[in-house]
């Protein structure tokens, strides 16, 4: 009887589902952390292109400063809209200690091996939100980030990379938005009978160029008086 069951047990033990269940997916986050552990700071020129029906705006340019682990500053001479989520590359956003990870699937992404992970904020995590990451496991790159739907909001970021000073950093981030609209207070105007869309949908494409990596950005840069900013 035992002998008869053995093949089934072995089959079960070596099945992809079982291996998937046994594997600790946080090691993918670990690999990402290690890969970018040498990235102390960068500054980069950004060009934001909006393809959103509810927001008619020309391309906007600015210079973005980042310093590990989570300092960010945007410098622009003009009015500048920048997506709050997924707008810039911050490798320490997905630290192993901040999330509980679950492997959702293995897949091939643009011809390379990849995994899809669901990240749930750990108890000590200041982040309120969970994510689904698609990670290119051959190059240890986050290729897609999706926010877990909350309050009817869905944001998906698709990231393309280039190599700058030995680091693979984004050359573009394409954000796909599907978020509910919020009607501004006290801004009713005469003469507008247009049907108000219920959601903001569309794409925001952020292109990055002229990276300067690990140039030793001072903390003071991030404390200097900034142009008015609404958070």
């Amino acid at each position: 009887m035992k002998k008869a069951l053995l093949p089934f047990v072995l089959l079960f033990l070596f099945s992809p589902e079982f291996i998937q269940a046994q594997e600790d997916p946080t090691h993918y986050l670990d690999s990402l952390e290690k890969k970018y552990s040498g990235l102390k700071d960068y500054m980069v020129d950004v060009n934001v292109h909006f393809d959103i029906e509810a927001l008619k705006a020309p391309d906007m340019q600015a210079r973005l400063y980042y310093k590990a682990p989570d300092k960010m500053k945007v410098e622009s001479r003009n009015v500048f809209f920048f997506p709050k989520e997924g707008g810039y590359f911050n490798p320490s956003l997905f630290r192993k200690k901040d999330f509980d990870a679950r492997l959702l699937e293995r897949l091939t992404y643009e011809g390379r091996r990849a995994v899809r992970l669901r990240l749930t904020p750990s108890e000590t995590n200041r982040h309120q939100q969970g994510f689904v990451l698609t990670i290119d496991t051959e190059r240890n790159l986050i290729r897609e980030i999706s926010t877990s739907p909350s309050e009817g909001r869905a944001i998906r970021a698709v990231i393309g990379y280039g190599e700058f000073s030995d680091f693979e950093l984004p050359v573009y981030i394409e954000l796909h938005l599907d978020i509910p609209s919020v009607e501004p207070d006290g801004m009713k105007q005469f003469g507008s009978f247009g049907q108000r869309p219920k959601r903001i949908t569309g794409k925001v494409k952020i292109a990055y160029s002229n990276y300067k990596v690990n140039s030793g950005l001072r903390d003071e840069i991030f404390n200097e008086a900034e142009p008015p900013k609404l958070k």
Binding site: F82, K84, Q189, F190, P227
Partner: protein
Amino acid sequence: MKLLWLEVFKTFSRWRTYIAFGFIALIVILTEIVMKLSADEIMLRMMRSLQKDFLIFGNLLNGWFVTAFIMNSLHIHIPFLITLVAGDIVSSEATSGTVRLLLIRPPSRSKIITAKYLTSLFYTTAIVLFLAFMCIFLGLALFGSGDLIMNYATQFRIVFIPEAEIPVRMLLAFAAATWSMTVVASMAFLFSTLAENSIGPIIGTMAVVVVFFLVGNFPFDFFRALSPYLFTTYMIFWQRFLDDPIPWQEIARSAIILGLHNIGLFLIAFVAYNRKDIKS
């Protein structure tokens, strides 16, 4: 031409003509000071729809935004200020008893009524230009310059206009606003031609403007069906110059419809004045 300048001189010799300018100055100064003091609150309310998902940098509450914000009140107080003069310009001659004296002078009735009408339009233009001057120069002095963010709240649309394009667009917007207001002037002028006192034309014109605005903006299908037939529907076409892309066809259509109103109202006034019995 001489007759026109005499009418202009006569109009601008009256103190009541300057009520409008004083009122506009007061409103603009008060509004801009209050906006300056509550800048954060205004911006938070204005950008509430975007700030949950976007970081917003730069000087949004600038002189151009303040100007566009105040221009939205054109519908309410500027028509009233226009009627103060346009509703009085013909009827005051009857009230003060100078109409007979005026009409026995060599200039024909047609010339007199045309000169008075052109004076009403001149005054209307002066009012709107004064508003533009006050809004823009005080706004830029207090709030500085920058890109213009137009929030079409009821349509849930935000339009971004680069700073370099704004002066030309504002010029066109104020020209369109002036054109809109000439219809109010024409209506007040017609009522003034028909009446023997000034109160009737002023109240009558305001009643028409307010009722048309309300009817045209009630969110019911019945009233929506009526709105294309109300001239007030087209009076906000100046806003289209602050849109992206600029809907030129819609602008041309509105301008033509308002122009036809002007012509129609003036022709009725012209005929009525020429037929007016001043002997009784």
